[in-house]
């Protein structure tokens, strides 16, 4: 009984910490996005609420909560409600398998930095792929249930886009899995120790995954579900108040998640840029895990910045260009990447 309670407590604490990280990341990402946008456009950006405008996201959320929640008359009420729920749930579900660091000993017991009891579950990568795939349901359902042609078009477009880029994502990941020989995220990260980053071993795969993740999170240059000029605001046109806020939140959480996954898979994750003996900490110590967490978050925030940077630089593709790129360029490139990686692994192992 006591061990059960201990495990339960551990779970609750871990979930609370991970949720806190995700929410804080999303809030600061909203603020950072506005700041980056402003600076690239030679403006200053939000700087009124709180010191240096840091409380802006809270003001935004407060505004959204107090707004009226409007459901269109002819909308499918049930699915209209479920849409945002799916989006947010899926966005959070991925965190079940993401490890934030290796492990440390607490009273002689191993504590893993991640929600799963053993973050190295051997389907980690597959779970991530499955969950990002489920994202389509939130977008498409909310687009369809709004009873608005623009929303519907946004939803349909995004489902086509996400399905085609899902394939690219999967193919890109095969390279990493071939190199590591495991589906476990901890294995993949530990394999990249000592600057053997998958970014250097598998650059084509990184490029493919990066582009596919732009498409998966519906960010510019692939923000077709939104597409203000053509579709008003795409699938979330008919959402107001906090329901819209949830889509907004989920978008930024997704950006953070995708960056996190990318830094785990390709940028060496939490591996330190120098051997850990240099700072006199051995594997399993609490402070080492803390440093690992910081290293991971720094890499992630750099990638998140890259997302914003690209958004305010590159214009949106045309829809046919998107499909051309996905099926005619990325699919063959992904297959080529697998073959090349396989040959490389065969020769050097």
């Amino acid at each position: 009984m006591e061990t059960f309670l201990y495990i339960l407590l551990m779970f609750v604490i871990k979930i609370a910490i991970v949720l806190a990280i995700a929410f804080t990341a999303a809030a600061s990402a909203v603020f950072a996005e506005r700041k980056v946008a402003a600076y690239i456009q030679c403006r200053i950006g939000p700087n009124r609420v709180g010191p240096k405008g840091l409380l802006q996201p809270f003001a935004d959320v407060l505004k959204l909560i107090m707004k009226e929640d409007i459901v269109p008359y002819e909308a499918n009420k049930v699915f209209h409600k479920i849409g945002p729920m799916i989006t947010l749930t899926v966005a959070f579900a991925i965190y079940a398998v993401i490890p934030f660091g290796d492990f440390f000993y607490l009273n002689g017991e191993k504590v893993y930095l991640g929600i799963a009891t053993s973050p190295n579950i051997n389907i980690g990568v597959l779970f991530i792929l499955a969950m990002t795939g489920l994202n389509i349901y939130g977008v498409t359902l909310s687009g369809w249930s709004s009873n608005n042609k623009y929303s519907l078009l946004g939803g349909v477009r995004s489902s086509a886009q996400m399905v085609s880029y899902e394939i690219v994502m999967g193919l890109a990941l095969v390279g990493v899995i071939l190199i590591t020989g495991s589906f476990g995220l901890t294995d993949i990260v530990n394999h990249q120790d000592n600057w053997k980053w998958n970014l250097f071993l598998n650059p084509i795969g990184f490029l493919l995954y990066l582009t596919a993740s732009f498409a998966e999170t519906n960010r510019t240059p692939f923000d077709f579900p939104e597409c203000e000029q053509e579709l008003v605001n795409g699938f979330n046109t008919e959402y107001s108040g906090m329901k819209f806020g949830i889509f907004y939140l989920a978008e930024y959480i997704n950006v953070f998640t995708v960056s996190l996954i990318m830094s785990l898979l390709y940028l060496g994750g939490w591996t330190l840029p120098f051997p850990s003996e240099w700072i006199g900490l051995e594997a399993g110590s609490f402070w080492l895990s803390l440093i690992q967490l910081v290293v991971l978050l720094v890499k992630t925030s750099l990638l998140v910045f890259f997302f914003f940077w690209v958004r305010w630089t590159i214009p949106r593709f045309k829809y046919n260009q998107l499909m051309d790129l996905g099926w005619k360029v990325f699919l063959p490139l992904g297959l080529l990447n697998i073959i090349l990686t396989a040959i490389g692994v065969y020769c050097f192992k």
Binding site: V36, I40, R43, I44, T313
Partner: protein, 167 residues
């Protein structure tokens, strides 16, 4: 004028088709702009000083405690939005007439500056005041108490009018 030959490139070359070098170019450009000087004016603290030619809200020039206006009614006639109402009365002063009532409906005013142009006395001019707020329709009708502004505060516009009017 010699027209340069219009070159229309239809095909992208291989490097451009790869997108990556072009995207990198774009990214460096936007990174450069991130560190460029910013244009934002922090409005309530940092105010913009309009030039003399600026057409802000129309005001009546006050000279020696009295309005310059002789209530000829030209501004009221020329106003395309019919925003000005003038009622004349007699006075013992040299100018013999003065407006006993002078009202501008600021909801109607379109800041065209025709009143300023047509005024023979330079009595109604467009000021530099661009911050206009009212809480009701009634308060949006400005009467003489709000319209009269001492001449000393309007030197900028008056100098502009003297220099550039009727040329």
């Amino acid at each position: 004028m010699k027209i340069d030959k219009v070159t229309k490139r239809e095909k992208l070359n291989f490097l451009e088709k790869l997108y990556i070098p072009e995207i990198a170019k774009g990214l460096t450009l936007s990174l450069k702009y991130m560190f460029a000087p910013k244009f934002t004016r922090q409005y309530p603290e940092e105010r913009w000083e309009p030039l003399g030619s600026y057409r802000g809200r129309p005001v009546l020039v006050e000279e020696n405690g009295k309005e310059r206006c002789v209530a000829c009614g030209l501004c009221s006639r020329v106003c395309p939005a019919v925003a000005i109402e003038v009622q004349a009365a007699e006075t013992a002063d040299e100018k013999e007439r003065y407006p006993i009532l002078f009202e501008i409906n600021m909801l109607r005013c379109i800041y065209c500056g025709y009143c300023e142009e047509v005024c023979p006395e330079e009595a109604i001019i467009m000021s530099q005041d661009y911050e206009l707020t009212f809480s009701s329709r009634e308060t949006a009708i400005y009467d003489k108490s709000k319209l009269l502004v001492p001449k000393e505060k309007l030197t900028n516009q008056l100098r502009f009018l003297i220099e550039y009017r009727n040329i």
